[in-house]
């Protein structure tokens, strides 16, 4: 691989060291060490219950680790959440909530707007642009409950884009969506990486779509492998992680 030059001045990655998480007394993640590099689309894969979502949540302080550090630019990442755009699993959201597409994408501007302030015209413009980017401009006044699963996911992607973040953490953005949404989201992930951002995506599918990731983190309560896609995707690693022979898109390796 040739070294990548970043248009963005921040060329540092996220450094995770000895991160360990327990749920009550059960070990959820054991001493994770890895680096997530900027300018790369990094996929996090592993079997169900491997702790993929937990790792993202621990990185952002949504669950409290028992030990370990997550640093970005030599500072704890949890102190720099204004640099992060997080996309929760779509299934965790109550889509009957009384809000329109516009309302939800606007939420991406809440922190940047600050307490007691109204949304600025800049924010409104950013939201309109993000909706246009995901192809939902015509849906801005729709109730979110009226959308298809793929459209709902695109609403969340648009919200993440409005946050003007440097670090993007997406939890299962490809779960239960249509082909069109999948290609829109992958395009956006590549664009973000090309702009030098840190892009981390929880993914559950080892099929053809895996070629969209530059780097992979393979997890099963512990770090099984991490590195470039070619380094991680081999039968030995996957068998170790999944505990069984597992089919994967071998041309990607």
């Amino acid at each position: 691989m040739t070294p990548i030059s970043f248009p963005n001045r921040q060329a540092e990655g996220i450094h995770i060291s000895e991160l360990e998480v327990h749920y009550r007394r059960v070990l959820a993640l054991k001493a994770i060490n890895c680096e997530i590099r900027p300018g790369r689309v990094t996929g996090m894969i592993g079997p169900n219950g491997a702790g993929k979502s937990t790792l993202i949540k621990a990185m952002l302080g949504l669950v409290t680790p028992v030990q370990g550090k997550v640093c970005f630019q030599n500072q704890p990442l949890t102190k720099q959440l204004d640099q992060v755009a997080y996309l929760p699993q779509r299934s965790k959201i109550d889509w009957t909530y009384p809000a329109t597409v516009w309302d939800v994408v606007m939420m991406g501007r809440v922190r940047k707007t600050g307490w007691f302030h109204r949304f600025s015209s800049v924010s409104r413009r950013l939201v309109a642009q993000a909706l246009d980017r995901v192809g939902l401009s015509d849906y801005r006044d729709r109730a979110i409950g009226e959308l298809s699963g793929g459209q709902q996911q695109r609403v969340f992607i648009a919200r993440a884009l409005t946050e003007q973040a440097h670090i993007f953490c997406f939890d299962e953005p490809f779960a239960g969506i249509d082909k069109k949404t999948e290609s829109v989201i992958f395009d956006i992930l590549h664009e973000l990486a090309e702009a030098g951002h840190i892009v981390l995506v929880v993914h559950h599918d080892l099929g053809h779509s895996i070629v969209n990731f530059d780097d992979l983190i393979l997890l099963n309560r512990e770090l099984v492998a991490h590195g470039t896609r070619k380094e991680v995707l081999n039968a030995e690693n996957l068998q170790y992680a999944y505990g069984d022979r597992i089919a994967f898109f071998s041309e990607a390796a």
Binding site: L60, L62, L81, P88, I93, A99, D103, V110, R111, A143
Partner: protein
Amino acid sequence: MLEILIEPLQYGFMQRSLMTAILVGIICAVVGSYLMVQRLALLGESVSHSVLPGVAIAFILGVDIFLGAFIAGVISAVMIAWVRTRSPVKEDAAMGIIYSAFFSLGITLITIVQKNNKIDLLHFLFGNILGVTTRDVINTSVIAVIVVGAIALLYKELLFYTFDPEGAQASGLPINLLDFGLIILMSLTIVASLTTVGLALVVALLITPGATAYLLVKRLHQMMILGAVIGVLASISGMYLSYYFNIPSGPAIVMVAFGFFMLAFLFSPTHGVLTHPSRGPGLAQSQIWQEIRGLLATKK
């Protein structure tokens, strides 16, 4: 007709209780909208019942019962959160445990106090339009200003937090403070509602107007505004019903609010049962009927 509306207004108590009822109708719908979207209707029910020991203790100590009720309500909400986070007991069970305990303590204390004072438990449970003092009107007005003001100032943060708590936390919002703030606002609202609706029924005024509006509009602030209109209409009508038929004001208000809800439930342009008759299965196709028929068929 006009005579019917104007005649009661010559009495000071009716002016005071109408004023209180209008304010309560507004803040209950606004705060209750948050409870509904967070599926926390039962929390409203719990905290409203839990204020009773605070009322009794305030009465014994001779301090403002608004203050006693507010403190008891907040303590109960904190205890529910404590049981839920520090044990495997789930939230609804924690609510059931805490509020029945607080309510029992309240009944016990009031029964003891009742022997030497004239304090009527029924008035706290179901509201009493004769009992609204000028002091109550002032207290309720102050609470209404605090509640509406706080929600206007924190609207965008509360919208984000109640829709997507994890997303809000990940963006750096202090979600535990926002949650506690909502509990404070809810407790204030319940306390303000004590004299007109009563603690046994305040949950209806918290949930029903907002739920009615939810069937008619699609954004949270629209739900709050329309809910407040419905809450105010229900409160005013309930007060007149209470006056003319000599019934407790709480049940009168709640029955009117329920009437509004049923209208929206049946006729809402987007969700109505009668306007969208095809939505749900009829009795003949319903699953339970199929299961009963299946059982009968195998019996033979």
